[in-house]
């Protein structure tokens, strides 16, 4: 999983039916070890995350496991809101 910051949201009227009702958030990877600029991508919010919050994002086929319906075309999901970290 990667630590990301929620930076916005996106909407699409014409879309796959299975995506109806899902919250599509724009997230950007945060990194504590490198200063590299990261690309943003879209993740479906499963935990009620707000703009600016640091979140835990799972990608790939494992992202589908965050949903009751495992047959949705989703490859990234926000599965936690990060309270703190130690390193």
């Amino acid at each position: 999983m990667i630590i990301c910051k929620v930076i916005g949201n996106v909407w699409a009227t014409r879309k796959e039916e299975a995506l109806n009702g899902l919250k599509l958030m724009i997230v950007c990877r945060m990194d504590i070890t490198t200063e590299q600029e990261h690309e943003s991508f879209v993740a479906v919010d499963c935990v009620g995350a707000g703009i600016g919050e640091p979140v835990l994002v799972v990608t790939g086929s494992s992202a589908r496991k965050a949903f009751d319906n495992p047959n949705i075309p989703v490859d990234a999901a926000i599965v936690g809101i990060i309270d703190g970290s130690e390193s």
Copy 2:
């Protein structure tokens, strides 16, 4: 998922039978946070996207979930046409 722009299409007469009838679009990742140049790739269109439109693309095994037949050799699908975003 990633936000891409549809920049063209590609055709192949000799191809895997399961790909027959699918619209193969050339897409290019768009990014609002970095200025990095992105490579283009091919995604199957599921929502009737046109050249120049910003779209939502799902990749990997999840791309197959956008099709009635989950056994197609497809690793990228256009699953939404983006109307707007806020960030």
Copy 3:
């Protein structure tokens, strides 16, 4: 999927039994939007592609869907020979 050029082939006498009889081609990603140099990798040919031809390559678990036996250790397959493109 990505657009690649077939640049060679590779052979291996000692290999996983499930790979017997498969054509292992060396391919290199082609890109129309960036000038970046691309690494070559090995994809199994499913459509009779020849050296020098532009092809459509599917990667990851979806590559296995191009074969009758879905239980082969293959993560990249050539699934189409590209006739043309427009962008």
Copy 4:
């Protein structure tokens, strides 16, 4: 799999129920061949790894195979503590 160093841990009160009780560690890839700086990411610890230890991390869908419940939204798992290597 990749060799990583455990550099910290992260906690999230609001999270997917399936993640309850899992130890979320921050890990950073180590490489003996390049000097490249690596990004950190989050992996679930399955073997009792401690901060500073070199570990073996499996990513993608295979990470789920390290758990009794294969339906968890996890894409990276620590599956071994490295005692030594030879190269």
Copy 5:
């Protein structure tokens, strides 16, 4: 699949039970088209590869297909020893 060179091996006493008995090799990607330095990673040897040999490595979920037990937490496997190539 990618062409790699076996450069060493790694051992871990404390590890996931399903990894017992597997040979964990350190491999490094070889590339004939670019001069880029590549990172090393760990792949499970399925074909009896030795240090220094060029091998074919399959990654992701497809790596699990190289084993009798498809439920092991492995994301990279050596599935062939390369005898030669032409490009």
